[in-house]
């Protein structure tokens, strides 16, 4: 290692680690329903797609967590995106191919993908 820039590069690469371990107030939480109903409806590939897409799009300020059954089993896989200070946005019937757009638009730009949300489904 010769320069501060190299040190900074390692640090930034490791920041993903730091995000998971800090209960940072600016961290976005992505929560996947992983009860029996969720898993049966395909939550596992969705979860894998989320983690892969976060890495691919270099997102360092988001963590992925799982949760149990919320009661609307017919709408699984359900994914909540929780941006601090904003209302929870709930996506339903999520499939791996929808993930890229949710991450790039909602997590990175702050613009929810309205057509995938529970509100759009109910209408």
């Amino acid at each position: 290692m010769k320069s501060l820039a190299e040190l900074a590069a390692i640090r930034d690469k490791m920041k993903q680690n730091a995000t998971i371990r800090e209960d940072g107030e600016s961290t976005i939480r992505i929560v996947v329903g992983m009860a029996t109903c969720g898993i049966a409806a395909g939550a596992r590939p969705v979860l894998n797609a989320i983690t892969a897409e976060l890495a691919a799009q270099n997102v360092t300020n988001a963590t992925v967590a799982q949760t149990g059954c919320i009661g609307r089993c017919t709408l699984e896989p359900i994914v909540d995106v929780i941006v601090p200070g904003e209302d929870i946005v709930t996506y339903v019937h999520v499939t791996p191919d929808k993930i890229s757009k949710i991450i790039s638009s909602h997590v990175k730009e702050g613009i929810p993908v309205v057509e995938y949300t529970v509100g759009a489904y109910e209408n």
Binding site: M1, K2, S3, L4, L7, I10, R11, K13, M14, K15, Q16, N17, A18, I20, R21, D23, T27, R29, V32, M34, A35, I39, L47, N48, I50, T51, A52, L54, A55, T63, V64, A65, Q66, T67, G68
Partner: protein, 595 residues
């Protein structure tokens, strides 16, 4: 990609309570459900709450699992990691609220803590340098080497008010300035990791949990005083700390953070480990350096101080592990940040090893000026078993006992000295009403007698005589004239011993004499030990009204000292009784009186 981290404490405390078995079990369970690519196991240093080991924290939820057993691992993996359902029954009870989980940092043990020296203990994997760098590691070194002159580093440290955490509390910046100004081609930087106080283990925990912080700080010190070579003197009985430090030095060298021309600044520094054999006196600075030189570890008179004439007769800076651990943080966060914590004369925080009769045995770091009450009752969770707090011992064999009446004194270097104890390296042993203060003084004197190096007479013979006097008192042969003798002896040892070991050895006697003279009097005049500890003064008798003659004690007595018949109150033969306490343990009717 990794979405969850399992932080598994691998400090000495949790290794002893079985964290390796947990690690194996959890790894096997993760493989069994195929989560290897999503979950990462991180072996960390000490979290501090050693009483609850083995400890496991799972992120991003931050769930704190305590006293985990290998058979619990399947449930944790299946429920928490696979399905996202936190296993509440295994959580540390203080984090489980009525309707939601309490954040770990809001629990009693952690709420009042401020972790600077222990910042990354339990947060990073100490065996991977990238983890340290990920938490701003080596940035302070980068800043110092590329932006600051050596004098500026020393000035900054002087302004911060940082004082040595090894015990004496000497201002660190001043020490560095002396060494920087001392004339000499060759200078050295040393780290005192020869932690010898019974019960103190903060230096070990820092080396185990965050070894790179020490390497970074020592390199900064070397730059500030113009040294190119350093030694860490650590005791061989800290094998985990030694191994992690070795790994850290190797990785730092591979990254070019140790060695020649660091960050292309032209400055170079090399670091080696020297193992000590565990002699208490080698924690004294001149003895430590004599030991590094390859000689028998004995102190020499000061002055000259090490800053002028230290290792191999060259100017040397010697600081304690905890002192070093503060330095990168002070450089990165500034002096205003550091001086905002603590008291007028003692800035920043202090780590205490909390032990003895207290619920949360472990390692705590609090701002200077925190009261003993806050540490013992709020952080430590109080004295267990409904017993009463009697005294706290700080500073180990060099310190003293603080009675309950000083419970609200804000702890810093000056205040502790004023009430007859000292900071020492930060051991804090809590004692309840069942502790005999004369016996405590005797225990610490026994330690110093054993550890006295023998070079100077007052320490070698004086401490032995002091021990004999205490032994005489605890065995029931004390006389009133012993008070004068104790007092005289203590003051002679203090005034004429060569090094701090002897100069502070009488402190446990003086402080207990000062605060608990009534206990000494009870031993000498009434031939009675009020706490029921000193065996020679104890008498076991059977209370006739309570004894139903069940013969249990009689059958269990190892010396057949108890006689009697069924349904007839028994009698203890005082000649035969060895005071082993077995009859008290076995009697179901509280019929045996011990006084």
């Amino acid at each position: 990609m990794i979405r969850s981290h399992i932080m598994l404490c691998s400090g000495t405390g949790c290794v002893a309570s079985g964290c390796h078995a947990i690690s194996d079990a959890i790894e096997a369970e993760i493989k069994a459900v195929g989560l290897e690519s999503e979950v990462k196991i991180v072996h960390t240093g000490c979290f501090g709450l050693c009483a609850l080991g083995p400890i496991m924290i799972i992120y991003p939820e931050g769930s704190f699992y305590a006293q985990v057993k290998p058979e619990d691992c399947k449930e944790i993996v299946d429920e928490h990691l696979l399905k996202g359902r936190i296993v509440k029954r295994l959580l540390y009870h203080e984090t489980v609220g009525d309707d939601k989980l309490t954040n770990l940092s809001d629990t009693g043990f952690y709420k009042k803590q401020k972790r600077i020296a222990l910042r990354l203990c339990g947060v990073i994997d100490p065996e991977h340098i990238d983890e340290y760098i990920g938490f701003n590691g080596y940035e302070a070194l980068g800043k110092v080497l590329t932006e600051m002159k050596p004098e500026e580093v020393i000035d900054l440290l002087k302004k911060s008010g940082l004082r040595g955490r090894g015990g004496a509390g000497f201002p660190t910046g001043l020490k560095w300035e002396f060494a920087a100004k001392a004339k000499g081609e060759q200078k050295y930087v040393c780290c005192n990791a020869d932690e010898g106080d019974p019960g103190a283990f903060m230096d070990r925990s820092i080396l185990e949990g965050d070894p790179h912080a020490i390497i970074e700080a020592m390199t900064i010190a070397a730059y500030a005083i113009g040294a190119d070579k350093g030694y860490v003197y650590v005791r061989a009985e800290y094998p985990i700390a030694v191994t992690r430090l070795e790994i850290a030095i190797k990785q730092a060298k591979e990254y070019g953070l140790l060695g020649e021309n660091i960050f292309e600044s032209g400055f170079g520094f090399d670091l080696e480990i020297r193992l000590g054999a565990g002699a208490f006196v080698c924690g004294e600075e001149t003895a430590l350096m004599t030991s590094i030189e390859g000689n028998r570890g004995e102190p020499r008179p000061r002055p000259p101080f090490p800053a002028v004439k230290g290792l191999f007769n060259c100017p040397t800076v010697l600081n304690n592990v905890e002192t070093y651990a503060n330095i990168p943080q002070i450089i990165l966060n500034g002096t205003d940040w550091f001086t905002s914590m603590g008291t007028e004369t003692s800035k920043g925080t202090k780590v205490f090893a909390l032990g003895g009769n207290v619920t949360n045995v472990g390692l705590v770091e609090v701002p200077m000026g925190t009261t003993l009450r806050e540490i013992v009752e709020e952080i430590g969770g109080g004295v267990p078993g409904g017993k009463k707090f009697k005294a706290a011992q700080t500073g180990g064999p060099s310190g003293g006992c603080i009675p309950a009446e000083h419970f609200d004194v804000p702890i810093d270097f000056e205040q502790l000295t004023a009430i007859g104890s000292m900071m020492g390296s930060g051991g804090l042993i809590v004692m309840d009403e069942d502790s005999c203060m004369v016996d405590i003084a005797k225990y610490f004197l026994g330690f110093t007698v054993e550890e006295s190096c023998g070079k100077c007479t007052p320490c070698r013979i004086g401490t032995k005589r002091l021990y004999e006097l205490l032994d005489k008192i605890t065995s029931g042969n004390g006389e009133m004239s012993d008070f004068d003798m104790l007092d005289t002896l203590c003051h002679h040892i203090i005034s004429s011993s060569l090094c701090a070991l002897g100069q502070t050895a009488p402190n446990p006697v003086l402080s207990t004499l000062n605060y608990f003279k009534d206990e000494y009097l009870a031993h000498i005049v009434e031939k009675r030990c009020p706490a029921g500890v000193c065996k020679d003064l104890l008498r076991y008798t059977i209370i006739e009204e309570k004894c139903i003659g069940c013969t249990v004690c009689l059958k269990n007595c190892p010396t057949n000292a108890i006689t009697g018949a069924v349904k007839v109150p028994h009698v203890i033969n005082q000649e035969k009784c060895i005071k082993c306490d077995v009859c008290v343990e076995k009697c179901k009717f509280n019929a045996i009186l011990k006084q």
